[in-house]
């Protein structure tokens, strides 16, 4: 009970952060604190790291309604710790995120009604009244994450335990396998955003090669990629300015012809 309340309050705080300061918002940070609250930091870290890489490029793209990482991470981690296992956490985090996403869509459609209210405030010409409009959605956004989290954690742990025990072993193994393939989706989404030109593939392959053959972790790869980025930038600059120059050259020629009058 205490655990459920603590975790749901934390989920509510993360929800406020997600729309406000945007300082937490990622599974690793959410899950680590859930682990701390549940008294099992080690599992919290492990589940958080798994979810973090799993959702790497997901929940970041503005164009579509992203899975709700906050409810998913909080509920998945809490129930995963309660019923012992990263695979359980991953298995729960995915459907939870997708379900909670529907609530978010409802919320964002629902607060459309703030617009006419705001228009009326604008008519009064009083600047001091403007900021108050934020308090309604603040309360809503807190509840929309905290309440489902509380219900799921409070009533879910017993049920989840018995379900997990009843499932054949291959299902849980299969789910952990899925957990290590799903990151490909996030990575694919990121690639979709960044692969603006075909030539950029070589950098992707170079990164892969550095990691596979030299066993480099992310930080050294990042540092190695910086000079590559600079050189690429200068090369494209040169190409562009060459174009510009040829254009301006022709302009100069045109001008000279005009002076020949």
């Amino acid at each position: 009970m205490i655990n459920a309340i603590l975790v749901s309050v934390w989920a509510g705080i993360c929800a406020l952060d997600d729309l406000g300061t945007q300082m937490i918002r990622r599974p690793l940070l959410i899950s680590a604190v859930v682990g701390l609250l549940m008294g099992d930091l080690k599992d919290g870290l492990l589940i958080g790291a798994t979810l973090e890489v799993m959702w790497m490029g997901v929940g970041n793209v503005g164009a579509y309604a992203a899975p709700d990482l906050i409810s998913g991470s909080a509920i998945g981690t809490a129930l995963g710790i309660a019923s012992g296992g990263t695979a359980t956490a991953v298995a729960l985090a995915v459907p939870t995120s997708l379900l909670a996403q529907q609530l978010l869509i409802l919320y964002r459609s629902g607060i459309v009604y703030l617009n006419p209210i705001m228009d009326r405030v604008a008519e009064t010409g009083d600047f001091d009244k403007v900021f108050r409009i934020n308090y309604i959605p603040m309360l809503l956004t807190f509840l929309i994450r905290a309440v489902p989290t509380f219900l799921a954690v409070y009533f879910g742990s017993g049920a989840i335990k018995s379900v997990v025990n009843a499932l054949p072993k291959q299902v849980m193994t299969g789910l952990s396998v899925a957990g290590s393939i799903i990151p490909a989706v996030g990575i694919g989404l990121l690639m979709l955003m960044m692969m603006k030109k075909g030539e950029l593939w070589v950098f992707f392959i170079a990164g892969f090669t550095l990691a596979v053959y030299l066993k480099l972790s992310v930080l050294p790869v990042t540092l190695i990629s910086l000079p590559m980025a600079l050189i690429y930038d200068y090369a494209t600059q040169k190409a562009n300015s060459a174009k510009d120059n040829s254009e301006s050259d022709s302009k100069i020629v045109n001008e000279e012809e005009e002076y020949d009058l």
Binding site: G20, T21, Q22, M23, L28, A32, V33, L41, L45, L46, G48, A49, M56, G57, G62, P67, V94, L98, Q101, G110, I111, V112, N115, M118, D119, A122, G125, F127, V130, F131, I133, T141, T173, G174, A178, I181, I182, P183, A184, V185, I187, G188, L189, L192, M193, M194, L200, F203, F204, G207, L210, A211, V212, S217, V218, V221, T222, A229, Y232, Q237
Partner: protein
């Protein structure tokens, strides 16, 4: 340009700091109709108050209505736009105010793109993967380092975005400035893709236990792939997923995730994965 010499109508550093604090609530009112418009106005109020406190009511109402028109960008880019809008509001007279809306509308798309490609698609994954790799080894430093790395940039761009936007606003977006932003975005793509390539190797882990026995020789599929290139299968899976996403414009990511779960369970049952 009709700049009143009245010192009371000059935006101060303090006003901009107020904008920064209010900006922390910018997205609460983000809705499907006007997106970030209400949030923009409620962050922008300190500036309007400074400029309009002694103006007639009608002008105040118009100022508010002007900033209630549809607006949507990236939150960190919003800071820059708030700063620039403050500068433009201060330097335009009452009948030149279309400029403000025009500049806001012109900036929101490109800056959202740059904010996304630098922060969301490059910096956040880098912080996340460094944090996650530490957390996998059970270190509490993982989330702490991720939090610090991300927020130095996150809070920094918001704070300096407002102040720079106000002081250098116009030159940032016209002429050479826009070119710098574009180049930054290009470089971010290169860094981001290199890092993502490295992530594929460490994050997408597929272990194939299937093998074919022919007499005394057993062929292990995993070894076959690894002989060509270690982690080749992970790379192929990722490229396949990318192609599927590309065909559907990334709309069906959740469906794809669920399919992967089901396929993984089935293949584990059949003894391919383990």
């Amino acid at each position: 340009m009709e700049n009143s010499n009245n010192q009371n109508n000059k935006i101060t550093k303090k006003d901009l700091n107020k904008v920064f604090w209010r900006m922390q609530c910018l997205n609460f009112t983000n809705n499907f109709q006007s997106m970030q418009a209400i949030g923009f106005l409620s962050s922008f109020v300190p500036v309007l108050k400074r400029l309009y406190h002694d103006k007639p009511k009608e002008e105040k109402v118009n100022a508010m209505k002007r900033h209630l028109q549809f607006f949507n960008s990236h939150v960190n880019a919003d800071a820059l736009i708030l700063g620039i809008s403050a500068a433009v509001e201060e330097t335009t007279s009452e009948d030149e105010k279309e400029t403000v809306t025009a500049i806001k509308t012109g900036l929101m798309g490109p800056l959202a793109g740059i904010g996304d490609s630098v922060l969301k698609f490059t910096w956040l994954p880098i912080c996340g993967s460094i944090g996650a790799s530490l957390a996998f080894s059970g270190s509490i430093l993982g989330p702490i380092i991720m939090f610090l790395m991300y927020n130095i940039v996150n809070v920094g761009t918001k704070y300096y975005g407002i102040h720079w936007g106000y002081s250098k606003g116009i030159e940032l977006i016209s002429g050479s400035g826009s070119n710098v932003l574009q180049r930054l975005s290009n470089m971010a793509n290169v860094v981001g893709l290199t890092v993502i390539g490295a992530l594929v190797a460490s994050v997408v882990k597929v272990n194939i236990i299937a093998k074919i026995s022919a007499g005394k020789n057993t062929i292990k599929f995993q070894d076959m792939f690894d002989k060509v290139m270690p982690g080749l299968f992970s790379l192929l899976v990722t490229i396949a997923v990318y192609q599927i996403l590309k065909k559907t414009n990334g709309k069906h990511a959740p469906l794809l995730i669920l399919s992967i779960m089901i396929i993984s369970i089935v293949l584990t049952y059949l003894g391919v994965f383990g």
